[in-house]
Symmetry: C2
Subunit: 218 residues, 2 copies
């Protein structure tokens, strides 16, 4: 049976990278439809599948849309049970993973945006916040190999796409994440050795170039 799995995404979309990594971890074949986030126009497919939110990524499974990157990864985990489990089995660990996934979206992503958009004092302030957010996440990682413990897992998938911007953060803010958060950087290297991650993450330099153009960074 053809699963008819389509992922509508933009190559530099960190939220969408989560979906692509999850599908690759599960070994699900999918068709990637590129949507250019650099324009405000949305394709007929996005307008049809996400008429209200008009957002990507969209996972289309048997013609039906699933929206929201955290949601989609949970959906993938529930539907393709034959692959490796992405969410931990224990309800307390699941709650912990979900909570920090939303922390990444609410805190890290908005701090990143402020940091890249601002100048002078505001930039320094948001740089300090960004380092604080990363240290926070490093604390959650603790001494484990992965956020889920010994296995690459849900929360790893949630955070690893952001590492595509880490060298951009360093260049933009003249600091070294490896000095501030050595365990987190070791985790990034570990994750990037996985095929699902290596195939999905774009070139760090291209990511920063795109964001420079996006936010008018000189």
């Amino acid at each position: 049976m053809s699963e008819e799995v389509v992922c509508v995404d933009f190559w530099a979309n960190g939220f969408g990278m989560r979906v692509r990594i999850a599908l690759r971890e599960k070994g699900v074949q999918f068709e990637l439809k590129e949507e250019d986030l650099r324009t405000k126009e949305r394709s007929a497919l996005v307008l049809e599948m996400s008429p209200v939110l008009r957002q990507i990524p969209i996972l289309i499974h048997h013609g039906k849309p699933v929206l929201g990157s955290i949601n989609i990864v949970e959906y993938i985990d529930e539907v393709w049970k034959e692959g490796p489990a992405l969410l931990p089995a224990d309800p307390l660990d699941r709650a912990h993973a979900r909570l920090w996934a939303h922390y990444i979206d609410k805190m890290l992503f908005s701090t990143q945006t402020k940091f890249l958009k601002s100048k002078g004092e505001a930039k320094e302030k948001s740089k300090a916040e960004l380092i604080e957010n990363l240290k926070q996440l490093e604390q959650v990682l603790g001494d484990g190999n992965y956020f889920g413990g010994d296995e690459f897992n849900f929360l790893d998938i949630m955070l690893i796409p952001f590492s595509s911007m880490f060298s951009g953060y360093e260049e933009h803010g003249s600091f070294q994440i490896g000095v501030e958060c050595p365990k987190l950087m070791a985790w990034v290297k570990r994750c990037r050795q996985r095929e699902s991650v290596a195939r999905t993450l774009p070139d760090d330099g291209e990511m920063y170039q795109l964001h420079k153009a996006w936010y008018g960074i000189e």
Copy 2:
């Protein structure tokens, strides 16, 4: 076996009402510890159980904290399986319910805050946005008795606490939700007949009084 379930919450906290409704739907006995959100001080219990986010509600189960209201309700559903299922069984329906739960937190709650805080033109603009958000949710409800279809369900639990502020919205904005969203208001009445909801929701008038004091509304 004592389940040792503690819910740390504030009586007027809509996010926490979700947790109390979910526990009551499942028939779980719990101890409620009141935390006054009107002050910036947090109790030793909150600082111990949520040192980073310092937020409530907190569900403490066998001494361990679960944070984030959507998260907590999912946790409750996963742990007390013997009660009625809160999330739908089908992965697509689950993804739909989770997506709209986050829409409520991201859109409706922030629009509510803007609406209550603003004056003049900004107030009119956020009032229009608020009505738009409610109409959106009414569209998601469709012709069903509940958001989950025939049964009171996860998404109903997510939204019904906000109805405590509906009469406040009406007074603050001089409009009638029942005129704008008749199906949504019929749903509110239906939900409020449930014991879990009736026992949890505070008095509408007291809710608006509290928000008036909170936002300095004259």
